[in-house]
């Protein structure tokens, strides 16, 4: 009986996000007017908001599921975009590339490899040297961005070749390819995590690494792989981002980190590890996109935007924390740990 009640509570808590989104959605529609907010273009826009952030959130969520932060993703984005542009774009009058004009079909795989390597380094530093994941990835972010500064010389590299841009700007009929790609990626990976060996390991390690080890998993390797995936996703996001803004500079992607963590946490990926799903994370991304889009459509004073976003994030956090307390209530043995 008691358990059923808890289950009921859990369901409410898990679905709470969709309730919030619905409320916000309705509020905006009423405020801004259905014709504007619910127009086809605007729906597409909302989805477009979520594309790049979404891909980064996939990586971040996978790391969080393994009970680690990845704050280095935005550094990876900056590095791979600058490298890619540098290799592809001909030297030009202003902030041109290296003039190597290498074909995108070589550069794109290269980006992805670089991203993965960055993730690998993170993972190894954390698992082998047992360094604190938060600070390691934070300083990796600086290192990576620093490298991109050195490569770009602080200059901006514009107009990557069209063949490169299709991920960012390509369309399928009237619909941008990106807004199909990102949700597909979410669904695919979410499904994969639920049904794959790696997924099982990830969740097991995230929720109780000792027990996972005692069940024959190698938590160190799992965490490393999680970081490699995150790095790969960052590179993918970089590819899409560069394709969309069509100019690369070292500050590109700055400030994404907090948003990815926020979106994942809002989406119910717990910072305690092993709890939550990419489906939820996508909801988190959608929440941020809806809010951003709405704030853009209402002519709210530009100076207010950041404050409001912060508040929404805090709200979501409080919900998450309550979820954790509920989880603790069910397990008499585990003492609440407020920090790692």
């Amino acid at each position: 009986m008691l358990l059923n009640k808890n289950d009921f509570r859990r369901i409410i808590l898990d679905q709470f996000l969709w309730i919030i989104i619905a409320v916000i959605f309705i509020t905006f529609s009423l405020w801004i007017g259905f014709d504007r907010f619910l127009s086809g273009t605007n729906i597409i826009n909302i989805l477009l908001h979520s594309t790049v952030l979404g891909i980064l959130v996939i990586g971040q969520s996978i790391c969080l599921l393994s009970k680690n932060f990845d704050l280095s993703a935005e550094g990876t984005v900056s590095l791979v975009t600058v490298i890619a542009a540098f290799l592809m774009v001909p030297t030009s009058s202003f902030g041109g590339g290296g003039g190597y004009e290498i074909s995108p079909f070589i550069v794109i795989p290269l980006m992805l490899v670089i991203g993965t390597i960055a993730g690998f380094i993170n993972g190894r530093l954390i698992t082998k040297l047992r360094m604190n994941n938060f600070i390691v990835t934070l300083s990796m972010q600086l290192v990576l961005r620093g490298l991109s500064y050195i490569i770009s010389g602080g200059l901006q590299i514009d107009n990557p070749p069209a063949a490169f841009n299709w991920l960012g700007t390509g369309t399928v009929g009237p619909i941008p390819f990106a807004i199909i790609f990102t949700p597909m990626l979410f669904i695919l990976i979410n499904w994969y995590l639920k049904n794959s060996y790696f997924g099982r390991q990830l969740y097991a390690v995230g929720s109780n690494s000792e027990a996972a080890n005692a069940s024959g998993f190698n938590s160190g390797r799992v965490v490393t792989i999680a970081y490699m995936i995150s790095g790969f996703m960052a590179a993918l996001a970089g590819w899409m981002l560069l394709g969309r803004v069509q100019s690369s500079y070292s500050k590109l992607g700055a400030g994404f980190t907090l948003e990815t963590v926020a979106a994942s946490v809002i989406g119910g990926i717990s910072l305690q590890g092993g709890l939550g799903s990419l489906g939820g994370a996508f909801a988190g991304v959608m929440l941020l996109s809806v809010v951003d889009n709405g704030l853009n459509l209402m002519d709210v004073n530009p100076f207010w935007v950041n404050g409001i976003r912060g508040l929404i994030i805090l709200l979501a956090l409080v919900i998450d924390s309550q979820k954790m307390r509920y989880k603790l209530k069910v397990t008499p043995q585990s003492q609440p740990q407020t920090q790692e």
Binding site: N132, Y149, I150, G307, G310, P336
Partner: protein, 357 residues
């Protein structure tokens, strides 16, 4: 026992790691540039990190209890802007109230502490993850700054307000010129001293360490950890306000971006200063060393005319290095404990090679 001596040596070395690094840094830079070891620089190094140093104090307090406070950088801007609005005339970007310094400073300190209270309550009462709470607070406060003073800097404060930030205590004659010794330098050093006294000689301070070292044990000893954590967040907020006072006074201006992107340096400096991320370790003198080292590195890199494009990379590497040392320190102390424990059992003695696993 000989290796016991070695342990003592290593322990002492680990405890004073920061000062050794500082010494090395100073030597290196002095060799690379004859300008480095001049009184000008030595007087300069502290004020350039003074505001950061105050944040380091707050950060260290929270970290000693095993928590983070990332919101302090926005808190600096927030308090500074409040002061700016109350002090400056309307044409200088204020509200034109021109309240007296004696009123404004308490207000800003109060505001800063209030932010601390909110952080603390969220962390202790609602059990929200301290890291993310303070990140969210970081966004919110920055947002609030833009709301209360849309995109304008407030400036032209009364001298009494600026004194702390830009005042001069006395002048030192050097190579015919007069080098002024800034108030801020003395102030931050004194604050560090106070912080040190609190952490070392006040019960509250020791309880901080207890909570950070082992929360359960602390609670078993009758220490109310929540109360302690709440308090350190308040202190952190208070220090942020002081930093706001210092920096806005020094610039005679409060800009909407005051303090933006500081927190990383603060974290780095505290960790380098030996404040351990796992809580319960490190002391304020070490943290002060962290602050100094940060200043020294900055100045040094400048002196060698390092291309600004490289600074980020260097800082990143430096921090990685610092954490590496911190990690090894903790691990070494741990293995030390294990081996000590082993050394007094009789079991399995016949296998000498197993004495230290």
């Amino acid at each position: 026992m000989k290796n016991n001596l070695l342990h003592k040596l290593l322990l002492a070395l680990f405890d004073n790691l920061i000062w050794i690094i500082i010494a090395v840094a100073i030597i290196i830079f002095s060799l690379l540039s004859d300008k480095f070891f001049t009184i000008f620089n030595l007087v300069n190094i502290i004020p350039r990190v003074a505001a950061i140093g105050l944040l380091i104090i707050g950060q260290s307090f929270t970290m000693i209890t095993g928590n983070f406070d990332l919101s302090s950088e926005s808190n600096v801007g927030f308090t500074a802007m409040i002061a700016g609005l109350l002090l400056a005339t309307s044409e200088n970007g204020g509200l034109g109230l021109m309240w007296p310094t004696a009123v404004v400073i308490p207000i800003m300190l109060l505001a800063g502490s209030l932010v601390g209270v909110i952080n603390g309550l969220l962390v202790t009462k609602l059990k929200v993850n301290n890291l993310i709470v303070t990140i969210a607070m970081l966004m919110i406060l920055r947002g609030v700054i833009y709301i209360i003073n849309p995109g304008v800097s407030a400036t032209k404060f009364p001298g009494s307000y600026n004194w702390l930030g830009s005042g001069t205590l006395f002048k030192i004659p050097y190579e015919g010129k007069l080098v002024s010794f800034p108030v801020s330098a003395l102030f931050v050093l004194i604050t560090f001293l106070v912080a040190f006294v609190i952490t070392r000689y006040r019960e509250f301070g020791r309880n901080m360490y207890a909570v950070g070292a082992n929360r359960n044990a602390a609670e078993a000893a009758g220490i109310q950890s929540n109360k302690i954590i709440l308090t350190v967040y308040i202190i952190s907020g208070f220090c942020a306000a002081l930093a706001g006072l210092l920096t806005s006074g020094r610039m005679d201006t409060a800009t909407p971006r005051t303090g933006a992107d500081w927190i990383f340096q603060v974290q780095a400096a505290s960790i380098i200063g030996g404040i351990s991320l796992i809580g319960g370790r490190g002391n304020m003198i070490g943290a002060m060393g962290g602050m100094l080292l940060w200043g020294i590195i900055d100045t040094g890199l400048n002196l060698m005319m390092v291309d600004p494009l490289l600074i980020d990379l260097l800082r990143g590497l430096l921090l990685l290095f610092a954490i590496l040392l911190d990690t090894y320190k903790v691990r070494y102390l741990h293995s030390l404990a294990v081996n000590e424990a082993l050394s007094d059992t009789k079991i399995g003695l016949k296998h000498k090679k197993l004495i230290y696993e």
